[in-house]
């Protein structure tokens, strides 16, 4: 028997790891991957609740989140490509034309 808290806490841990990644990494693609970790940790939370509540909604949400993640990935990577074409870098520290 695994208490629900373990799952939730592990999801929270994954979320925090993703957070750290977003905060400390400079490569735009890696930052995006860390965001994917965060989304997946949320998915885990949803599935956990769904399973423990015996309710399908949570899994349906996960289904939608995956779709959204796919759409975001397509758009996000397209944005990264078009930026890279113009600027030849993906280091978000160097992408600071717009400021103040």
């Amino acid at each position: 028997m695994i208490p629900i808290q373990y799952y939730l806490l592990f999801a929270g841990f994954l979320f925090s790891v993703g957070l750290v990644g977003v905060l400390i990494r400079r490569n735009a693609i890696v930052v995006f991957m860390c965001i994917e970790i965060m989304l997946n940790s949320v998915n885990l939370t949803f599935v956990t609740f769904s399973a423990y509540l015996g309710d399908a909604t949570g899994q349906i949400v996960v289904f939608f989140v995956m779709t959204v993640a796919a759409a975001e990935a397509a758009v996000g990577l397209a944005i990264i490509i078009s930026l890279f074409r113009n600027k030849q870098t993906l280091n978000i520290n160097e992408i600071n034309l717009l400021k103040w």
């Binding site: 695994i2 806490l9 841990f13 400390i24 991957m33 994917e36 956990t48 015996g54 399908a56 996960v62």
Partner: protein, 171 residues
């Protein structure tokens, strides 16, 4: 029951390790590969939670499609060269890490101490709920509108991806 425990803890170990490795790996390709490992572990978690359909879809969509896209872009932009992306560790890094730790501690406090959730067992229906049949029924009846909505979302994303990433500015 011991088997369940063993699977759970080993999944946690691998998933946690791979997640951390995504963050700390120098090369984006390594990060991406670790992320794939992490996603497989999550699929494992879904299986332990009796969400078979989601587990399969997860592996197919995430590891199969999204991560391949990532790898593809990394290769396309030829980002394998690590020297291009030297990342320093400075005071901001420490602040970031401590903030994230604080966030996790808060989550821990809320989940473990403030909220005693009595549920320790999977719901009796959970095995049935996770099947393709059941989810399909719900998806095409109750959630038909959001389901249709996702098609529009994907079309918008496709159009956007094409116009942003196509090579020539005018055809």
């Amino acid at each position: 029951m011991a088997l369940e425990q063993i699977i759970f803890w080993s999944l946690i170990l691998v998933a946690g390790f791979s997640a951390i490795m995504v963050v700390v790996s120098r090369s984006p390709i390594t990060s991406a590969l670790y992320l794939i490992l992490n996603l497989f572990c999550l699929g494992g978690f879904y299986l332990t939670l009796n969400a078979q359909f989601i587990a399969i879809v997860h592996i197919i969509v995430y590891a199969g499609a999204i991560m391949v896209l990532f790898l593809f872009v990394i290769m396309l932009l030829n980002l394998g060269d690590e020297s291009k992306l030297r990342e320093r560790i400075d005071w901001k890094t420490y602040i970031s890490i401590s903030i994230s730790v604080a966030f996790f501690v808060e989550l821990y406090y809320i989940l473990m101490i403030q909220t005693p959730i009595p549920v320790t067992k999977l719901h009796v229906n959970s095995a049935e709920v996770g099947t393709v049949e059941y989810l399909g029924k719900v998806l095409y009846t109750q959630f038909i509108f959001p389901f249709e909505l996702t098609s529009i979302l994907l079309i918008a994303a496709i159009i956007g991806a094409i116009i942003l990433a196509k090579k020539k500015f005018t055809i």
